[in-house]
Symmetry: C2
Subunit: 226 residues, 2 copies
């Protein structure tokens, strides 16, 4: 059996869960609070971060981008980087957009302030969220929802006619923000329609069932009519 070291409110971990499910690959999850820097986990991944996949043959694959490219190469049946080299480049441009630009401008800060801080000791930065960081992230979020809506004016999925790794990447980030109740979907019809379609996929069900102890999701989190 495959094993995935993950965190529930981690876009990188959720992206790998979505890719595994889209490819119908069974796996078991092990929650790894990577900020605790556990020795045995550092031996698996010297960068100390989730996700880490232990494949069926025991091979260790570290990091979402490495894991996703690996799974798409080895399990090529439902390609998540389909089409021509140019179409794949467009999908990877958007993967990069969400994993780097969106992460830096929105999700990294928001998730650290609203989720990670709850689990840290005061000495390590635990405590109440810094509201300045939260406000800046929520301000930036609107620009990205606009961009998704703009892309949806001419495309079925983010990178073109087919669902790609770009959609799963963006949805992984947005589903984490949705868990903390921060996405103003109602004002972005194009982005909302796109997210409804993703949320309805079987691969999304386990993510909609996530429940962080002491931090229940808002009512609309798992609802398809939100």
């Amino acid at each position: 059996m495959r094993h995935l070291y993950h965190l529930p409110i981690s876009p990188a971990s959720r992206k790998v869960r979505l890719v595994l499910s889209e490819k119908n690959l069974a796996f078991e999850m092990i929650e790894e609070r990577d900020w605790e820097r556990r020795e045995d986990f550092l031996a698996l991944n010297p960068s100390g971060e989730v996700p880490v996949l232990i494949d069926e043959d025991g091979e260790v694959i570290c990091g979402a981008s490495s894991i996703c490219e690996f799974l798409d190469e080895v399990h090529a049946d439902h390609p998540l980087l389909p089409g021509t080299a140019h179409e794949r480049a467009e999908a990877r441009r958007l993967v990069d957009w969400f994993d780097n630009k969106f992460a830096a401008e929105v999700s990294d800060g928001l998730i650290f302030e609203k989720v990670t801080r709850r689990f840290l000791s005061a000495a390590d930065g635990g405590g109440a969220p810094e509201m300045g960081v939260v406000r800046a992230a929520l301000h930036n979020l609107r620009y990205h929802l606009d961009y998704i809506s703009y892309l949806m004016e001419t495309r079925s999925w983010l990178a073109g006619d087919e669902l790609t790794l770009a959609d799963l990447t963006a949805a992984a980030h947005l589903s984490c923000l949705d868990y903390v109740g921060d996405v103003p979907w109602a004002q972005y019809a194009g982005a909302k329609d796109w997210y409804v379609r993703l949320k309805s996929r079987p691969s999304f069900r386990p993510i909609l069932a996530d429940h962080v102890p002491g931090m229940p999701p808002p009512k609309l989190y798992a609802n398809l009519d939100f």
Copy 2:
């Protein structure tokens, strides 16, 4: 002819230049000060960042990771992600290490403080470097040079027996720091030996000839005996 929008002291731009040269693909460079957010450049790449490649057929490809995967797919003669899927995963793990972990802990801060600030107006953050950021980056750099030396104890190149995109990525970052004179090579023999071999490759020559106006490189920058 291909055209590459780039900046000279940008690890992402240098990585693409190295990949193009390793694959013997001719290209012309256009310097783009992306912090100026020029309208015509934003129309090419909505993220507003270098590098952007205009391919021979006029197609636009944005972002180093997208460009490098594209070039390695389309020009497969000298593969930069060679071997098995597991070997490619190891190379991509290390690409990710340098483009994200090394960038966040070392190169982003150091290059912003020592290079970018020179070109910004005072209102946009121009001026003298913040020495606290510089010191933290130089402290973190030692840990990464140790990691390269550690990998070199058992490998010929970062990801294994062959040169990969991981080596070009790491060298792109380190060559930028070398330009500002910040790498304590003498204390890291394994890392230095690896960098000497990269620096000796024909693909590295144009990078060693870089010269930012008003900011000459240190004497040893282009020297193979450093």
